[in-house]
């Protein structure tokens, strides 16, 4: 008769050493992430910006009406005060966190100036906003304008999400001032749901990957190439929307964008998390990751082989995990989801990146011609996150065993 104690002993004896270390690492990672979140939340908190006299020309001082709303005053020579206008702080979710603006409005109901006071956007993309002086477009606009990208405001190319976030924040601030300071009625239209080519493509790719995953599917190779090419072209070069660690950082920090304008964000991140957690499969990386596809295309040209150094194999795997963990922790501590996003996806698909990213991209693309998917195997931070979810899922299943089904088999 075998006792439950004996079964436990047998199971633990069979457990590979790496599995034990993986679990220790998983627990350590969770603790470190929680600690980083607490530090970031309290040490690098966002303060409400103060009044900016430059936004209301002629102002000599400001008075706080309420936190985030100010009245600009001019002190006259006879000692009287003239109200020059008002300022209001507002924010809206951008690509990698919140974008906060300060908007100045004069009593005639015109915007006198807009200033971005806090943002955590990817530096190379935000530089486009600064270079084009995007905020200058709002000057002299009427506070009750629609403030819609494509209607009365033109987005900055390759920084559309940031442009939209700034516009939404300006709209929120302007409408508040219009209603509360100028006594105007503003017809607040419902936000339009943005559902276009990237969203449709993403859903189609999920469906294709789901069908392609099935064991008895005959045209697996053909469908996989089709999804990869589609992913590379549409999700990569057209919309520059690959999954990055910034998505996970935003999720952990609670920087969730509004679903109407960012349905793609929810479909991409939510879809992958759902499939990995519920079905133990990863449809994204092997089937339609745009950068993975780019590497495989180059690999097909150079007849790349799967090379994994025998000696440093384990060390490389752990370094990849530590890189991902450090990126998440850095983002959480600094309250900036995009700051540690070291992927070179934007560099390839939007031709935009820091000099370091360009060097890494060139090395990776050259390696891809001879080695199968070097980025995915050695550097990508998404792979350790998926591994982590798999490990936790496996662990939970061991603690609470359930009847094994076909879908529980890992791919």
């Amino acid at each position: 008769m075998i006792t439950s104690e004996q079964i436990k002993t047998t199971n633990s004896a069979k457990k590979p050493r790496t599995d034990v270390w993986e679990r220790r690492f998983a627990i350590g990672a969770i603790l470190l992430i929680v600690a980083a979140w607490i530090i970031g939340n309290y040490a690098f908190a966002v303060e409400i910006p103060s009044c900016d006299l430059e936004l209301l020309p002629g102002t000599t001082s400001c008075r706080t009406i309420e936190p985030g709303m100010y009245e600009g005053i001019r002190e006259e020579q006879d000692g009287s005060q003239t109200v020059i206008g008002w300022e209001r702080v507002a924010d809206a979710p951008g690509y990698a966190g919140s974008v906060q603006v300060l908007v100045g409005v004069n009593p005639a109901g015109q915007i006198t100036g807009v200033k971005v006071v806090n943002q955590t956007e990817t530096p190379s993309f935000y530089a486009r906003i600064e270079d084009t002086e995007f905020t200058g477009n709002f000057a002299n606009m009427v506070v009750t304008s629609p403030f819609q990208i494509g209607e009365d405001i033109d987005a900055v190319s390759r920084a559309t999400i940031t442009s939209r976030a700034i516009t939404q924040a300006v709209q929120a601030a302007s409408y508040t001032l219009a209603e509360q300071r100028l006594g105007l009625q503003v017809a607040r239209e419902q936000k339009p749901i943005i559902f276009g080519l990237p969203e449709i493509t993403l859903i189609a790719l999920y469906a294709a990957a789901y069908i392609g995953h099935r064991r008895n599917f005959k045209h697996k190779k053909l469908v996989r190439w089709a999804t990869m090419i589609t992913g590379m072209v549409i999700l990569g070069f057209v919309s520059n929307g690959p999954l990055t660690i910034a998505h996970f950082n935003s999720l952990l920090m609670g920087f969730w964008p509004d679903w109407q304008s960012n349905l793609y964000w929810f479909l991409l991140l939510g879809g992958i998390l759902f499939v990995v957690t519920a079905d133990n499969k990863n449809p994204y990386c092997q089937w339609f990751c745009p950068f993975g596809a780019a590497q495989e295309c180059l690999g097909a040209l150079g007849r790349a082989k799967y090379i994994h150094p025998q000696r440093g194999r384990t060390a490389l795997k752990w370094i990849q995990r530590i890189l991902a963990l450090s990126a998440i922790m850095l983002a959480l501590v600094l309250r900036n989801p995009g700051i540690s996003s070291y992927e070179v996806f934007g560099t390839l698909f939007a031709f935009n990146g820091a000099s370091v990213q360009w060097v890494v991209l060139v090395i990776i693309l050259l390696m891809s011609m001879f080695i199968r998917r070097p980025w995915c195997n050695f550097l990508c931070p998404i792979d350790p996150i998926v591994d982590f979810i798999h490990a936790v899922r496996r662990w939970i299943k061991e603690l609470w065993p359930v009847r094994k089904t076909k879908t529980d088999m890992p791919i």
Binding site: N41, Y42, A45, E66, R74, L330, L379
Partner: protein, 93 residues
């Protein structure tokens, strides 16, 4: 057979060198990012983070619920446009 083994070993070494180079560059990139944020960060504060995502941004406060009543009246001339000043006495007439 031996030459194939050597070839594989060289391939492994090249891969290790290139991957190590990329890891070092990524490390530099992350440090650069952290330093840039720390430099631009005015002063770490101990105030609670304001939760973004709301279009109005500032959470309603007791004062803001009825902010008009809390405003301090200014006994002064109010400018309707930056250029034209309206005297309240003239307006009454």
């Amino acid at each position: 057979m031996a030459s194939k083994k050597n070839k594989n070993r060289y391939a492994d070494i090249v891969v290790l060198i290139l991957v190590s180079l990329c890891i070092a560059l990524i490390g530099i990139y992350q440090i650069q990012g952290a330093v840039s944020v720390l430099i631009t960060q005015p002063e770490p504060t101990l105030t609670r983070a304001i939760r973004p995502g709301s279009s109005g941004f500032v959470p309603p406060t007791r004062e803001s619920e009825d902010f008009v009543g809390t405003l301090i009246p200014i006994p002064t001339v109010v400018t309707l446009t930056p250029e034209v000043t309206v005297d309240p006495e003239q307006e009454d007439n």
